[in-house]
């Protein structure tokens, strides 16, 4: 008997000893332990399309330009590998050429020189259909991209040998020609997909998965990658601004579990976490006010309608353009039923901002004012609806008045009786579900039945893309600070055109008008289709070199988009994270990339 007890005790001791094994806390102030996401799909600058991936990449690579936060907390784009961010020179055919000179002393992490040819190679690689990079389209402004991306019906490239109009004139000079002047060009240069890579390095397809083959040119080198658990970056001795880098080692722990991240933050092991459990948000705001950060993020959470979903009562007898105009009015009326302040305060709880337009907060006009504040034509409020808490009742009344024009309203029960049943589709997630339930109750309140249906993420993407839904949850995050990235996704042929504008029955609906004569273009369409109006407008904007007109036309495009009622913005996204009080010198840019190179730990 004693033996058994002894054995059991021994076991308990073994476990207890193992428990106090090695101490994992980072006591060394030369290193920072953070978590910005789980195992990244890739840290190849051309292939990455994730925000966490971009965070690793801005530490590992140095492009022609980079993001910087000045002392007042304002962001600017400053030269990095380039000596200066030059102005473009206009060519006779309207294209614009930029000539950059690389700084002296630029080296790869293996000691070789960084040359202009590395940029030329990297950009062509990233833009090629062959690589199939998510962000290949970020090169669409560069002359030659149209030839590269042109594909036949099967998707095979029409010009397999096409190249971008970018040339390494000599070792230090890079010349690039754009189709036309692009106001956000400098910002693109700071985007990871524009970072250089070396041909001999990336010829090994697995180069970006192993520290031994990972050659980069930024502030850090990839020192170790313990897949699924830890990425370690060490200061790059070959980096030209090596002395400005204050943090020796960065440890990026890989986790996608918000609860797990929070426990590691709370017990002091990690100094920054990029995710917190939604149900902890309100308590963290009060318990850790200095460490819980709500940062702006350029993105919109919205509801999208399928433009082809017929919601008119059968006995109305409207067809074609008239029917579409009626549907647009109805959809816009339902957008007034939702109390966005409730969604933000009670469900989101992460400092989101009620949205009254599709182009998100954070996008600016050329004069620096917020784009959304000058959207819409009302003088009383910003954007397309009044989303203030006081307007809830008047919005509701207005919606009822409009809907009464089309549906039978039972005054006694204050409900509509013949509104067709809808289905709201969202991807399986507690937060999306809560919002769906709120929307459902707001609709049920006036007699509209809206069933909820959730699908697993990948299935959901496919269903939404195919247009097999009536109403669906949607969201969009900007890639750069220019409203066009919210607007060009709605052209007929866009892969992100979930609303199905210009597709199916909507292809033949002549309900739209466009007049660009006052901007000096010979474009005037009355009662045209989506393709004849919106698509034309977007391509005109893309080739417009007058920034002021360009922005006016972008406002026009958003007006057109919002008039369809198919896009119902709910709130503007925010980026929440927690950073330890002991860390100084950290910043996060408007796209959500986190910068740790200039940090110090108290």
């Amino acid at each position: 008997m004693k033996k058994i007890i002894a054995l059991a005790l021994a076991l308990v001791m073994v476990f207890a000893l193992a428990a106090c094994g090695k101490d994992t806390k980072t006591s060394n102030v030369n290193s920072l332990a953070v978590c910005v996401g789980s195992e990244p799909d890739t840290i190849d600058p051309a292939l990455n399309s994730a925000v966490d991936g971009a965070t690793y990449l801005v530490h590992l690579f140095s492009g022609l330009a980079k993001w910087k936060m000045d002392d007042s907390g304002k962001f600017e784009i400053v030269p990095d590998a380039a000596k200066e961010l030059v102005e473009g020179v206009k060519n006779e055919d309207g294209t614009v050429t930029y000539t950059y000179t690389l700084r002296d002393g630029l080296k790869w992490s293996d000691g070789k020189d960084v040359t202009a040819a590395d940029f030329e190679f990297a950009w062509n690689r990233a833009a090629s259909a062959e690589l199939g990079a998510d962000y290949g389209y970020m090169f669409e402004v560069v002359d030659g991209y149209n030839e590269i991306s042109e594909a036949d019906a099967e998707g095979n490239p029409v010009n397999p040998d096409a190249k971008l109009n970018v040339k390494a004139v000599d070792e230090k000079t890079l010349e690039v020609t754009l189709y036309n002047e692009v106001s956000y060009w400098d910002e693109l240069l700071a985007f990871p997909v524009y970072f250089p890579v070396r041909e001999d390095v990336v010829s090994n397809e697995a180069w970006a998965t192993d520290p031994k083959t990972y050659v980069c040119n930024g502030a850090y080198t990839l020192s170790a990658w313990d897949h699924n658990s830890l990425i370690t970056l060490k200061k790059n001795e070959h980096y030209v601004d090596n002395e400005e880098i204050t943090m020796e080692t960065l440890k990026f722990y890989l986790s996608d579990d918000a609860n797990n991240q929070l426990s590691n933050f709370k017990n002091g092991e990690w100094q920054l976490i990029d995710d917190v459990p939604t149900n902890e948000i309100s308590s963290l705001k009060t318990s850790n006010p200095d460490e819980f950060v709500v940062a702006g993020q350029i993105g919109t959470y919205y509801v999208c309608w399928n433009v082809n979903e017929d919601i008119l009562p059968a006995d109305l007898g409207l067809t074609g353009a008239e029917a579409e105009k009626a549907r647009a009015e109805i959809r816009n009326a339902t957008a007034l039923l939702y109390d966005r302040n409730y969604i933000v305060d009670e469900i989101g709880q992460a400092g989101q901002v009620p949205a009254s337009s599709f182009v998100a907060m954070g996008m600016t006009n050329p004069d620096g004012t917020e784009f959304y504040k000058t959207a819409g034509d009302s003088k009383d409020y910003d954007g397309y609806y009044d989303v203030s808490a006081e307007a809830t009742t008047s919005n509701f009344d207005k919606a009822i008045e409009i809907l009464k024009k089309y549906y039978k309203y039972d005054e006694a029960s204050k409900k509509f009786t013949n509104f067709p049943t809808l289905t709201y589709l969202y991807n399986t997630n507690e937060g999306h579900k809560a919002i769906g339930e709120y929307l459902q109750s707001a609709m049920a309140n006036i007699g509209i039945t809206m069933n909820l249906e959730n699908q697993e993420w990948n299935t959901f993407l496919q269903t939404r893309k195919n247009g097999d839904f009536s109403v669906a949850r949607n969201g969009w995050l900007a890639d750069y600070n220019d409203p066009i990235c919210f607007l060009d996704m709605w052209v007929t042929a866009s892969g992100n055109n979930d609303v199905q504008f210009g597709k199916g029955a909507h292809a033949g609906v002549k309900a739209y008008s466009l007049d660009l004569t006052k901007y000096g273009y010979d474009v005037k369409v009355e009662n045209g289709t989506w393709a004849e109006t919106y698509d034309v407008l977007i391509s005109t904007i893309k080739s417009c070199t007058d920034n002021e007109k360009r922005y006016e036309m972008m406002h026009l495009a958003e007006d057109m988009l919002m008039s369809t009622g198919c896009i119902v913005p709910l709130y503007f996204y925010t980026d929440i994270y927690m950073i330890s009080k002991t860390v100084d010198g950290f910043f996060s840019n408007p796209l959500g990339y986190k910068y740790f190179m200039y940090t110090t730990v108290k």
């Binding site: 594909a151 890989l254 990948n458 893309k465």
Partner: protein
């Protein structure tokens, strides 16, 4: 080992191969029937990029052709192909990475469950209806009826968040302690109960009484006769236990963010990373099939009365 046993083992191996082949076939076609695809994302890629990628990975060919190519690669070259999501990495490397952690987690859990379970079970049986026995039974009943995600979350909240004793993420050695305990509790409790009842059963047998009557010491009766014989049901539980540990690790690895094969499996499905889904399924299925085979053979070794046919 006689020829009959050998023949039986051979037959079982052939059956095991057939089972794995059926699993491969079903998984391959079911997986491709799920809507969605590996190159879908919040932001759509261009049609030309989509086509280029499909061509690169052979997804543009007819499904049956892809199936035979895949089967051929796996059988002849043991080649599971590249991951579609983690560009540049081979499935076999990702699985090997995950396996290192999962194997550690699984083996330690299994061994701990066995040792602690048998000891506690025997102890409870010998102290039948005493306080210790009752306490052990209540605790093990609780653990048998509590799913691992509840135990896991509770332990995470208690030991890691509240008390700060152990790390919450399973990326370090210390971080594996909680996942191991979580994973081991259910089989441990089950084995405890199994050993207890089987031990009680054996202790009531005539030969035990005979042994005692002959004056054999208490320790010898317990270890030499009772315990050995009462372990037969425990060995039969070996196969199901490993199956539990393999499937249980899917949940436990998720809770503690353990970078194992279970997590890789779950995320490969959400990502529609086809070669990765196939690879992990084949590895896990093979593992379960082998374990069941081993436990059947062990069964025979422990109890020669059992006829394998």
């Amino acid at each position: 080992m006689n020829s009959k046993t050998l023949f039986y083992i051979l037959k079982r191996i052939v059956l095991a191969l057939v089972t794995v082949w059926i699993v491969i076939t079903i998984t391959f076609f079911v997986m491709r029937a799920i809507p969605g695809g590996p190159f879908l994302g919040e932001k759509a890629i261009s049609a030309s990029a989509q086509a280029a990628l499909e061509k690169k990975y052979g997804l543009d060919k007819p499904l049956h052709e892809q199936y035979f190519t895949y089967l051929g690669d796996v059988v002849t070259k043991f080649d599971f192909g590249p991951s579609l999501k983690q560009r540049g990495r081979m499935v076999i490397d990702i699985i090997a990475d995950g396996m290192k952690t999962s194997a550690k987690l699984g083996v330690i859990s299994a061994v701990a469950a066995l040792i602690v379970g048998v000891v506690l079970g025997a102890f409870a049986a010998l102290r039948r209806n005493k306080l210790v026995d009752k306490v052990i039974m209540v605790i093990t009943t609780a653990f048998v009826s509590m799913p691992s995600f509840i135990i896991g979350s509770l332990m995470l909240a208690l030991f890691s968040v509240k008390l700060g004793l152990l790390p919450a993420n399973g990326t370090t050695a210390a971080g594996l302690i909680l996942p191991i305990i979580t994973l081991a509790l259910y089989p441990m409790s089950y084995i405890t109960r199994l050993t207890r009842s089987s031990m009680l059963d054996v202790l009531g047998q005539d030969y035990i009484r005979t042994a005692k009557a002959k004056g054999v010491s208490g320790t010898k009766v317990i270890f030499g006769h009772a315990l050995k014989n009462s372990l037969i049901p425990v060995i039969t539980y070996f196969g199901p236990m490993l199956a539990y540990i393999v499937t249980g690790s899917l949940v436990v690895e998720q809770i503690y963010a353990v970078p194992g094969i279970g997590r890789a499996f779950v995320s490969s499905i959400t990502n529609r990373d086809y070669p990765m889904i196939m690879g992990t399924t084949i590895v896990l299925a093979t593992l379960i099939v082998i374990m069941n085979l081993v436990s059947d053979i062990l069964y025979k070794v422990v109890d020669p009365r059992i006829n394998l046919e």
